[in-house]
């Protein structure tokens, strides 16, 4: 076993018992992340991305969720840790940036008050000191006139400014792990790029580990060192950004790449959407969860709907969960998928 990483998630399962049955939102997820590195978690809505991030923060504790597995953060195990202990780490050691900053910030408190609050939870300082820190943070995330804007309310900010403020709040206690859940989804395209640049700069400055959760491959292409593709609560492909973009092996990843709009394509050409819709997490399809939507399901010799494929390494840390053999997948990618994606 290699020495432990900064963040080490092992066989994480987060299940929710409901009246309709057990919802297996996250079902055996394993990954690791070092300081200064970025992991992109990609998947459709309902694939378990957000549940994973909330799980790492310990926000499912005390609720109805059944959590098992291990989450090691800087040598500490969080799944078995007490609620109060994890609360103490939240905001300080690990922080989160949420999708829609308008609803994620309290409408009744000024932006400054919310940053001051975040800072003072973990630092025993006066309000004046915390306020100075808040102004400082707002300046660092690129908000003009921070000493004036600190007294504005979230609704007085534009969408991009709000997300900057949200980032300032998340970074106010200098967290070592930063999780961004769809940080740019609610923003204009022009603002998206600014926010991504900002996050990259800040990550370098703070040397924090960053997890970006998104359904947008463009976002992870911009930032990620490694990419984890989730489907039906499981990791179906994991690898470096190069692996995922240049040597993807899972049909679902091919689908994601095919449905990504690109500027260099002709506008008359159609995207290649993935057929069907994401699986219900209560009745996950038997066998490979993706098989009902997989165009290559017949090639598995009847195993597709009976046997859950294992996550196996093909080469150099590139993991794929697929019944097809690596050679067959690579042949498909080189001969059928790649040419189509490139000529498009």
């Amino acid at each position: 076993m290699s020495p432990q990483s900064f963040l080490d998630v092992k066989d994480l399962k987060i299940h929710f018992p409901t009246d309709d049955g057990l919802v297996k939102s996250v079902d055996g997820l394993t990954f690791r992340l070092e300081r200064g590195k970025t992991l992109g978690i990609v998947g459709e809505s309902g694939s378990g991305k957000s549940v994973t991030s909330l799980g790492i923060l310990g926000l499912h504790k005390g609720g109805s969720a059944r959590i098992s597995g291990e989450i090691w953060l800087d040598g500490e195990e969080l799944v078995s840790a007490s609620q109060e202990h994890v609360r103490g780490l939240r905001g300080k050691k690990m922080a989160m940036i949420f999708q829609d900053p308008l609803s994620a910030m309290h409408p009744y408190y000024t932006v400054g008050d919310q940053i001051i609050e975040a800072y003072r939870i973990h630092h025993d300082v006066s309000k004046a000191v915390a306020r100075k820190h808040a102004v400082d943070m707002l300046g660092r995330v690129g908000i003009p006139e921070p000493s004036r804007r600190v007294d504005s309310y979230p609704h007085e900010f534009s969408g991009g400014m709000r997300q900057r403020a949200m980032i300032a709040m998340a970074l106010s206690c200098d967290p070592e792990l930063l999780i961004a859940d769809e940080p740019t989804t609610a923003l204009d395209v022009t603002v998206q790029a600014q926010i991504l640049d900002l996050m990259r700069d800040l990550q370098r400055e703070f040397d924090s580990a960053l997890i970006i959760i998104t359904h947008d491959l463009g976002v992870v292409a911009e930032l990620s060192d490694d990419i984890l593709v989730m489907y039906g609560g499981k990791c179906i492909e994991y690898g470096s950004a190069d692996d995922i973009f240049y040597r993807p092996e899972h049909p679902y990843t091919w689908g994601l790449l095919g449905s990504m709009p690109r500027l260099d394509r002709e506008p008359t050409e159609r995207l290649l959407p993935i057929k069907g819709s994401p699986p219900s997490l209560i009745n996950v399809p038997p066998g490979c969860a993706f098989h009902p939507r997989c165009p290559y399901a017949e090639r598995t010799g009847g195993k597709a709907d009976t046997e859950v494929p294992a996550l196996t390494e093909t080469e150099g840390g590139h993991l794929v969960r697929c019944h097809m053999s690596p050679a067959e997948r690579r042949a498909l990618w080189e001969n059928e998928i790649k040419p189509v994606l490139e000529t498009q």
């Binding site: 910030m105 309290h106 409408p107 009744y108 609704h155």
Partner: protein, 339 residues
């Protein structure tokens, strides 16, 4: 913020003018439309032995023959500058603010109202403190313990609270707490000592009416608070507050309750304003001589100036309460200040 206050103030004054017109119309225009003559309306002011002749004279003296708009102007002038009422045998002064003069008790209405107001106010304030604390407290606990025995029991009791009429709960509490049974530590009806004389006896005398009134309102507030809390505790900003590492108690009070309270403030303003206008049933049940009982007595005696006076005063309180709610709203929710 400043223009917001000014706008609300102007709105309140306009509203008051409209209410005074409407009230005046109800008491002076509607009877005329229904066939009353100036004489028949004046006859009420001259006693039971009125002849046609005296009624005619009285109608002339009291201005019932003037156009309605003139009569209304005189009424408004009386509020601002006071008025004199000539009832034949002499002139009665009604100093400003004159809300009319009762010829039955030979008293200007306004001082009467001011005598009664402290009682109603005591009743309303005490009850309000109890019901807000109790209602909001139970509502929050119910929301946080949704589905538990506590939640279900509280909501059943709350349902009973909103459903049971005051005259029933009042009699029940009188039965339980007084008239020589083991719980007879509360005062019986009709007991009122002013706060200045003795705060302790003041509270002692009002305890049962407070509880009765508070039970009715607390029930509604508990249900409202519960619903509001269930909604706000699912908001994204609550998740953010937790993600910051805030202790749960503060997440609930500072972030959850703060937002859930906004609709409660609105309802509270309306309820409280209405209540100062007279808690009719509670005051009757406990024989408290507040505005509500004053109104009932005035209606029973067909003492029109009194009825009109108490109506106007009650309207004033409702408008004032609304004004305060509006201003408070802007303090509580910064988004209101913009629009």
């Amino acid at each position: 913020m400043f223009t917001y206050i000014i706008r609300r103030l102007i709105g309140a004054v306009l509203m008051l003018a409209i209410v005074s017109m409407a009230t005046f119309a109800i008491f002076f225009l509607v009877p005329r439309l229904a066939g009353a003559t100036p004489e028949s309306m004046a006859s009420r002011y001259v006693g039971r032995t009125a002849t046609e002749e005296t009624a005619k004279l009285a109608a002339e003296r009291l201005g019932f023959n003037d156009p309605l708009i003139v009569q209304y102007g005189r009424y408004v002038k009386g509020i601002v500058a006071g008025a004199d009422y000539d009832y034949g045998a002499g002139v009665e002064q009604c100093p400003a603010p004159c809300l009319g003069y009762s010829f039955i008790t030979r008293q200007p209405v306004f001082p009467d109202l001011m005598d009664r107001l402290p009682i109603t106010l005591s009743l309303a304030i005490g009850a309000a403190v109890i019901w807000v604390l109790l209602g909001v407290g139970i509502g929050v606990l119910s929301a946080l313990r949704r589905g538990t025995l506590f939640d279900r029991a509280a909501m059943v009791i709350a349902l009973a609270g909103v459903s049971l009429p005051i005259f029933f709960t009042a009699l029940l509490s009188l039965q339980f707490f007084s008239y020589g049974n083991p719980f007879a530590w509360a005062a019986q009806g009709g007991y009122y000592v002013t706060f200045n004389d003795s705060p302790v006896l003041w509270a002692y005398g009002l305890l049962l009416p407070w509880i009765t009134l508070a039970f009715l309102f607390a029930a509604g507030y508990a249900r409202l608070t519960r619903a509001g809390m269930l909604e706000t505790m699912n908001e994204d900003y609550i998740r953010t507050a937790r993600a910051k590492g805030l202790v749960e108690r503060k997440v609930i009070t500072k972030h959850g309750l703060r937002a859930a309270l906004t609709p409660i403030i609105t309802i509270f303003g309306l309820d409280f304003g209405l209540l100062i206008g007279g808690a009719v049933l509670t005051e009757s049940a406990y024989s408290l001589n507040g505005l509500g009982k004053y109104a009932i007595d005035a209606i029973t005696n067909q003492d029109l100036p009194k009825v009109m006076g108490v109506t106007l005063l009650a309207a004033l309180f409702v408008i004032l309460a609304n004004l305060i709610v509006d201003l408070l709203y802007a303090v509580v929710d910064p988004r209101v200040r913009l629009s």
